[in-house]
Symmetry: C3
């Protein structure tokens, strides 16, 4: 880095990171809302349209994540550790990816009415992404770290509940479905949805590690 | 980090990391011993109880891993590179996770007598976690780096043998089982157990990279 | 690091990294060429021999990757950020791993004539690894960063096409195959091959992040 670039980086309003993360978190919220719409309808055309909207948000988040990495390359001074910014961006990107890919599977596999566990997991994912948003917004001024930490703890609890529903759903598929293709399709969707809370937990872990350093 | 915190961090007995890693490695040894007990019995109630004990160790290790990250946030001076401590904690955490999740599948899928390859993999995992423990204990005084390196090399060899058993077991399931659900259950367990040695290899890789820097 | 080691590291021709990455990229090209040979033949013995050759390259790359990490431990000054060198080596290693493991599955599962999508994915992977090689070679003198960036963008486009072929192939397997074991075998191969372009995309991402910092 040249000396002028170095100096310039000091004046950079590195708030840019907060704004990017907040926008990414907002988009994730919208994606899961659309996802719930998809599973509540069994109209194939409606589903297709909504899945396309989810994809659009996912593309937006890809671009925002890319911007985070560009800014990370340009800024010498960052609001928190570079490795934490990188890990946070990656974890949030993963959350969006798995909501997107779950929605795609529903259309791709032409699944009709969906099992009860799918509805339960979607609702649980909604709780998880809401807490992710709260925690991400808390980072900007770090005033109420107890509240951020609370969101992180809640996400851990939510993830445990998601695990239980996933297991119950998986066993039920394996016991009730007879056709190999259908077992595989349903297991695939269930797994993809369960990873959404796993990735929210990754977000919580990064944020907790930021809190430890800056509290 | 404030200046007083900075100074304080120098006096921190950063041995704390060694103790945490050693405890984590000990717990992993116990987990795989319990796992072998689970597969040697086909009594559903006994299995359930033992799987619960494995889960308890896994929770303990989660807490110990969490402590590693907390200490990493608090300590400015660490016994080896921060990224290596992070990677080592993550890899050990993964080893424990996959032993735990393998044991859970046995109960969840109500598997009866287990295939020969399951017994072979469990024995191989036992060898792997024993070498992991030796390598981790070697880090504290770094006196005999040749011995640490030897454990790392052994783990690589063990992982290759696990691969072969996994492949043999998988092909045998695909050729002999007819029912889709049973194929999926058995494949799932086999895969989860095979990942245990993969993760031990990750541990060995991190430790080797520590040796390169500090030898 | 001792002071003499520190001084010595300045004189280290850290070009060593370029050479290692270039050799790794060359080997990957050869691996995918051999892979295309494997899928174009259905002679079981020929396949077995060629898969062994792919494995040899994979071993070579493992050793080269290991050398990268050793050099990383020894050199204080590196041509680009240590974390980027680490990430680049890991991503290239993954590309090789998935070509190797895809080829292994063909022999292991005794698959006969392969589906059209397998041939399409192999051709797409060929495009991807060619761009990976171009991008990797561009790093040495960084003269034409626009051309490096172009390769990265192409890889992203290639990965999107691979996704589409993968999805089409997966749905076709799920709709046409009736036997559980065959569905699982074919899905497994398709997935493993699709991950090759995913990992090429990871390579492109790391290289783009290097460009941002050093352009």
């Amino acid at each position: 880095m040249s000396f002028s670039k170095f100096l310039q980086s000091f004046s950079a309003k590195n708030n840019v990171f907060y704004g990017l993360f907040e926008q990414i978190a907002e988009n994730i919220i919208q994606m899961n809302k659309l996802f719930i719409g998809v599973i509540n309808s069994s109209d194939a055309n409606f589903r297709k349209d909504e899945v396309k909207k989810i994809k659009d948000y996912e593309h937006q988040n890809d671009n925002l994540t890319h911007e985070v990495f560009i800014e990370l390359g340009k800024n010498f001074i960052t609001p928190f550790d570079r490795e934490d910014i990188h890990a946070l961006a990656s974890a949030l990107d993963d959350v969006a990816d798995y909501i997107d890919s779950s929605s795609k599977k529903i259309v791709l596999y032409r699944l009709g009415e969906l099992d009860n566990e799918i509805h339960k997991l979607a609702a649980i994912n909604d709780e998880a992404v809401a807490e992710v948003k709260l925690a991400v917004y808390g980072l900007r001024n770090m005033k109420d770290t107890a509240k951020i930490r609370e969101s992180c703890i809640k996400i851990n609890g939510i993830e445990n509940r998601a695990d239980d529903i996933f297991e119950y759903g998986l066993v039920s598929i394996l016991e009730n479905e007879k056709e190999a293709a259908m077992i595989i399709k349903k297991k695939d969707l269930l797994q993809s949805m369960e990873i959404v809370t796993d990735k929210c937990e990754d977000v919580a872990d990064v944020i907790e590690s930021i809190l430890v350093k800056y509290a």
